[in-house]
């Protein structure tokens, strides 16, 4: 049904399915292996639900050692492996293959150690993103990266995709907040990279591993930085008659030397849907809305908001409204963070994730509108304005194959546009299966070859997360020499 074509499953592996399952049960115990069809069906897709495939079997290990045993078996028997956190990937990063085993880390969700003096937490990676903050919040600390799926998504998935969130303008993304990992390589070897210190010896292998989309190994434990929470935070709303004015206002705020903890942007279609859902008090008469949040003591907050209001006034805002209570602040964020869900209630949507240089915002928004119109589709725009990370939501009807194809074409054109103006295909969701075939838009064959040869260092037989990230064409040539 979809544009990206997955390779045919390996018939030899499918024919050996019963024997492979029996081996895995012998190796790990029947309570770790899910082999029945109903059990496997729960794992057949992820957040990119247009694609699905029944995995060969699913393994839910309880320890690093069990992950190691499973991977060693797969390596020795040339069985492919798809690593999985909570399965919330929006790019098909956890999409199974019929000839591959899914290894899920969800059972490994312990907090191993929290050290407030050294400001680190050591965790098993099946813990949810919000679970980390929940563990340290009683002491006034938090874990900074905050993807919208943070209630469900796991640290393992965050590390695989180098997840961001609304607050990374100030606090950075996953790669800036992970200090060390314990990782199982495809041959079962367990390695430790980094640790409880702020830099690592030798090459920056952490940089290669974080964001490697399950291509390099399975991370079972991680040491992350935890930060002391600000005394308070308060958002404000600024509404404009045009997205151009909103974009100029963002630039002016940043040029003034203020780095708000978050600057979020919504266009009119997004505002309407989110307001209907969250009753956040978003103005309905504006074309573009900014949510700007600052942190600090009450006095610091009011000074910063005062400065931002003064800057906004110079850009002819239609609405300037500072949150006046905790409840209002919560509602403002509820509207933003539930935006995808709220839009999902009125329509199927295809969520894009390109990043652009902020200065190109007005013309890129015009072009996105034009591209969608040409395909006869509607679009709602929501994004992290501070860092130029766009999330156009292309609305379509999933039951209409023609619209599905149009939505995917439309999405591909939008991402090509992002690269053309100096941005990239994906800011925080990852390449996965969804953008695999678009990679040549951003990289030359030589560049992809270099990346693929690094993949080969970690996974010589190319068994990990098959048919993702790198285009299928040219793999052999790139990795041969």
């Amino acid at each position: 049904m979809s544009l990206v074509v997955q390779p045919q499953p390996d018939k030899r592996i499918l024919a050996r399915r019963d024997a492979i399952v029996a081996d895995l049960v012998r190796l790990l115990g029947s309570d770790v292996v899910i082999a029945d069809a109903d059990g496997r069906r729960a794992f057949e897709t992820d957040g990119l639900t247009a694609y699905r495939a029944m995995p060969l079997a699913v393994i839910l290990p309880r320890s690093t050692e069990e992950v190691s045993k499973a991977l060693r078996y797969c390596h020795e028997n040339t069985v492919k492996v798809v690593a999985r956190g909570a399965g919330t990937s929006l790019c098909g990063g956890a999409l199974p293959s019929e000839d591959a085993i899914v290894i899920g880390v969800s059972r490994m969700n312990r907090v191993i150690e929290v050290d407030y003096e050294n400001r680190i937490a050591r965790l098993e990676t099946g813990i949810t993103n919000l679970g980390i903050t929940a563990a340290v919040q009683p002491h006034g600390f938090f874990y900074a990266p905050d993807p919208s799926s943070q209630l469900a998504c796991t640290l393992a998935g965050n590390i695989a995709m180098n997840s961001g969130g609304a607050h990374c303008l100030k606090y950075g993304v996953t790669t800036n907040n992970v200090l060390g990992v314990k990782m199982v390589l495809i041959d079962g070897t367990i390695i430790d990279i980094g640790g409880a210190y702020l830099d690592q010896p030798g090459y920056d292998l952490l940089a290669l591993v974080v964001g490697s989309e399950g291509q390099f190994g399975i991370v079972t434990e991680a040491t992350v930085r935890i930060l002391r929470s600000a005394e308070a935070a308060r958002p404000m709303l600024i509404g404009f008659a045009s997205s151009e004015a909103a974009g100029q206002c963002v630039s002016a705020i940043i040029a003034s030397g203020i780095i708000p903890v978050a600057i979020e942007f919504m266009d009119k279609p997004a505002i309407e849907v989110c307001e209907a859902f969250a009753k956040a008090g978003y103005p309905l008469n504006v074309e573009a809305l900014l949510i700007v949040e600052v942190e600090g003591s009450a006095e610091e907050i009011s000074e910063l908001l005062g400065r931002i209001v003064a800057i906004a006034r110079a850009h002819n805002p239609m609405v300037v409204r500072v949150s006046e209570s905790e409840a209002q602040s919560a509602a403002i964020w509820k509207g933003r963070k539930s935006a995808f869900g709220a839009i999902g209630r009125i329509s199927d949507y295809y969520c894009m994730d390109g990043t652009i240089p902020l200065g190109r915002l007005p013309d890129v928004l015009v072009s996105i509108g034009r591209i969608c119109k040409e395909h006869g589709l509607k679009v709602a725009n929501i994004f992290h304005a501070g860092d130029g990370n766009l999330h156009p939501l292309v609305l379509y009807n999933a039951n209409n194959p023609d619209e599905v194809a149009k939505a995917e074409h439309c999405g591909a054109e939008i991402l090509k546009l992002c690269v053309e103006v100096g941005g990239c295909l994906t800011g925080e969701h990852g390449v996965g299966v969804e953008k695999r075939d678009l990679m040549p838009v951003q990289f030359t064959p030589a560049e992809l070859g270099l990346q693929m040869r690094i993949k080969t260092v970690f996974d010589p037989k190319w068994l990990l997360n098959p048919a993702k990230v790198f285009p299928l064409d040219g793999r052999e040539a790139a990795t041969a020499g």
């Binding site: 407030y116 003096e117 680190i120 702020l198 010896p201 030798g202 090459y203 030397g257 993949k455 260092v457």
Partner: protein, 407 residues
């Protein structure tokens, strides 16, 4: 050996040089301006390649917090350009030239990423590599490539931008780097305490780091080193100095200093530096003022902050040493008495006990040839590192042996 210097002025010229060297298996010493040439195992390269002719700022968008520069551009020039728009590199790169007997200010922007040596603000704002957005580079095989770009969020493909950070010119030659920049804070304040023993000092620094007041520098100088400070007031106290930096707009700095004084009260009398004095103090730390004008072996040790004093105390039982703690205790510059191995066997064993790693920043060439300058890696990591080297530099021509004998 007669050394030949090459200064390619374009990526293509550089690619040709490296393709030739690769074909002939000619080792190439890779450097920016050469201020850190004396770090690492002594090399035997016939060709020395410098990036200094790859110069100039190629992009600066203050409203997008981004700057790109050719890698041979002097760091000072990049910082001056940023300062003219009230911005800075928040990771505060360290200038190691002066501790190696070279005038300050010779570092290039490319070497900043290639060595990933972040300054005091690393505790609050992240490391060099955390601010790197993109690179252009040429591999050891002479193949030009890019990674990342100019936007702040980018997870497209393998992260070679950060992956090349701290690789000391052994994997590829960078030709352009793009960094995220930040506004220069309106005001800088400093709080300090005098005469604290190391363990109490680091306890105080960690307590301060655990507050919501965004401390952006947390250092402790042992008494022996504080006597070498340029800052007259602190030097004349003749005591160990424990200092914290607070940066923000003026009213915020005043408020945060007040609140931090309450946190620090149990540790002793808290003193203050004004804005100008604070800038001078943190600036001299950036070039490790107290470790200059000495030939003694100098170690850079990275560990968990609260382990810092334990590591230093343990080393002190084996050899006389003096320590400057940065990163609230997690980064320690330790000067030791000259010895045939610069104390390497003891230092590495003691660091391992507490978790962390050590790099020998300054030592005679004979010592650097005899001991591991960079922390030896665990076998698993060593194998991966060698294989990555083989991908990026198949003929093994880039700074061969500088980091590790076989890399």
């Amino acid at each position: 050996m007669q050394q030949q210097f090459v200064r390619p002025a374009t990526d293509r010229e550089l690619a040709n040089v490296l393709a030739d060297a690769s074909a002939n298996r000619t080792p190439v010493e890779v450097m920016g301006a050469g201020s850190k040439r004396a770090i690492g195992r002594p090399s035997q390269a016939a060709v020395s390649l410098t990036t200094t002719s790859l110069a100039g700022i190629s992009l600066f968008e203050p409203t997008e917090l981004v700057i790109s520069a050719r890698t041979g551009t002097p760091l000072a020039r990049v910082e001056a350009q940023l300062a003219s728009h009230g911005q800075m590199l928040a990771f505060e790169p360290v200038d190691l030239g002066p501790v190696l007997g070279i005038e300050p200010g010779h570092t290039t922007i490319g070497a900043v990423l290639a060595t990933n040596l972040s300054g005091a603000r690393r505790v609050a704002s992240g490391a060099v590599r955390d601010h790197a957005l993109g690179i252009k580079a040429v591999s050891g095989a002479g193949q030009a490539f890019t990674s990342g770009g100019r936007v702040m969020k980018n997870v497209t493909g393998v992260d070679l931008t950060r992956g090349l950070s701290g690789s000391w010119g052994t994997l590829a030659v960078l030709t352009e780097v793009t960094f995220k920049v930040m506004p220069i804070p309106e005001e800088t304040g400093t709080l300090f305490l005098l005469g604290l023993p190391d363990s109490i000092a680091v306890e105080a620094l960690c307590a301060a780091m655990g507050t919501p007041f965004e401390v952006s520098g947390a250092i402790h100088l042992q008494e022996g080193l504080s006597a070498r400070l340029w800052h007259a007031g602190m030097r004349s106290a003749q005591k160990a100095v424990t200092a914290l930096r607070i940066e923000n707009f003026s009213r915020s700095v005043a408020y945060r200093k007040q609140r931090l004084k309450e946190t620090l009260k149990p540790f002793g009398d808290v003193h203050e530096l004004d804005h100008a004095s604070s800038l001078a103090f943190w600036d001299e730390l950036r070039q490790l003022s107290v470790l200059q004008r000495s030939d003694a072996p100098l170690w850079r040790i990275s560990t968990a902050p609260r382990s810092g004093p334990k590591v230093v105390a343990a080393i002190g039982r084996y050899m006389p040493c003096s320590a400057l703690y940065d990163w609230s205790g997690g980064l320690i510059w330790v000067e030791v008495l000259p010895a045939a191995d610069a104390g390497a066997a003891d230092v590495r064993r003691l660091v391992a006990t507490h978790g962390g790693h050590a790099t020998l920043i300054r030592a005679e060439p004979a010592v650097r040839a005899a001991v591991d300058v960079f922390q030896p890696l665990e076998p698993g990591l060593s194998l991966i590192s060698r294989e990555i080297k083989a991908v990026m530099d198949p003929a093994g021509i880039l700074n061969p042996g500088r980091m590790y004998a076989n890399v």
